[in-house]
Amino acid sequence: MALPLPPGLTPPEIAFICEMELVTIIPRQKLEGLKLLGAPLKPLNPPQRASIPLWLALLLKRQRRANIVPPPWLSPISLQAILDHETEQEDAFSPPPRLPPSSSGNEAPFSPPFLQSSTANAPPDALPYHWLELGEMLLEAAADDFEEPDNVRKLMRGLREVRMAKLRQGVNVLDAGGGVKMNGVGAMELGEARSFITGVVDGLRKISASREQQRKDRAREERENGYSGSADYDDDEMDME
């Protein structure tokens, strides 16, 4: 019964998480409110817009009971702007959407896919965490709800290529301690690159394990002897290439 999969999420699992994202729909049929397990579903009254999870939106769409409103960032104008930004900024991904203010209480803070970054009210100028999967799923299931689906498809492909190139370039800065910042990375991109990146970091760590052990020992000795000589450490920890 134990799961036979290696650590890390598989693409279907990433898509499963992405299907929890809320999207905006325009219902074509009435549907009474439902007590669902994740959140109560409010009654759907056409033509009032409603925000529902993607899995339900796809189900309603397939049965022609609703139309999906693509999120603002999935319009050709926004994608073109983001693509331009990605091409100009060579060493970082375009910034993720602005976070909501941190809640003051002790409640766990929200993160994707619960941030409402793909409803019709989402910010138009940033790619959310699940941009690739969500865009692909909407283009596949609801291409007729887009104004220019082919254009959107083309821009998505462009974005994907630019960003994958950045991800590959980023390998140069990996080192044994980890500590690499990757703000703005997407879920599916991370899923693709995960085993490679963690493999490189783990491999480098094993190569420099003895050096690290020396450093730890030296630090402990210094602590015991009670003097701080840490200022004149040699900073050559990355000279293994």
Binding site: L56, P109, S111
Partner: protein, 223 residues
């Protein structure tokens, strides 16, 4: 303009129902369990709440399946689709934990004993039962098939003589991806000179051992 947005967003956050919070928490636990090298403490409360809701939802489906009205039919399809999603989530979560329990049984048993002292059990009651029963079966089998013919000093399964422990454990320094949910500040990675400053919203590739404590209190999220 921003102020109004912030206020509105805060109201929206406060009005989010407990069900959604539980779904988010369970999803987070599942992802963490799928990715992190070590077993994480058993999130008893959220699992109990979710299982109770699943139980009630199944009863509802059983009550209503007899209804022949086509309208209820579609409602039931929606309910059942969601039910299946929840069942998958719970099942995959438990199986990911089982995988770790099977891989490092003795190490996890020791960790579990330590965790009982700080009353944050690592294993659920049934996981603990599974682990101990499985181990005693294995031990009996090894004993009857070959161990009993070894010299007494070589019969132990958790020998630590010679400086090497027989008890296998996961690679606690494995690299993982984390997202920062609350400002954490500077983290020093043990054994290196690397210091990283974690701010809310950041995504980092970092060693599990360096960030584990913040993941457990919920300041960081494994992705």
């Amino acid at each position: 303009m921003d102020d109004i947005d912030d206020i509105l967003a805060e109201i929206a956050v406060d009005s989010i129902p407990q069900e959604t919070r539980d779904l988010q928490e369970l999803t987070r636990c599942w992802v963490a369990e799928r990715v992190a090298p070590e077993l994480l403490p058993w999130p008893e409360e959220v699992v109990e709440r979710v299982l109770e809701r699943i139980r009630r939802q199944i009863e509802l489906v059983e009550d209503q399946t007899g209804d022949m009205d086509p309208k209820t039919g579609f409602r039931l399809i929606v309910v059942q689709t969601e039910l299946e999603r929840f069942k998958f989530l719970v099942r995959s979560f438990l199986r990911a934990r089982l995988r770790k329990i099977d891989a490092h049984p003795l190490h996890i048993l020791n960790q579990h004993k330590d965790s009982l002292e700080i009353s944050r059990p690592l294993l659920s009651a049934s996981e603990h039962q599974y682990l101990t029963t499985h181990q005693s079966l294995l031990a009996t089998h090894y004993n009857s098939s070959f161990l009993s013919q070894f010299p007494a000093s070589l019969q132990r399964l958790d020998d630590t003589t010679g400086g090497i422990s027989m008890v296998d454990k996961p690679d606690e320094d494995a690299a993982i991806f984390v997202r920062c949910l609350r400002d954490v500040g500077e983290i020093l990675i043990d054994g290196t000179e690397t210091r990283i400053d974690m701010k809310r919203g950041d995504v980092w590739v970092v060693r599990w051992s360096a960030v584990k404590q913040w993941v457990e209190v919920g300041d960081l999220e494994v992705i």
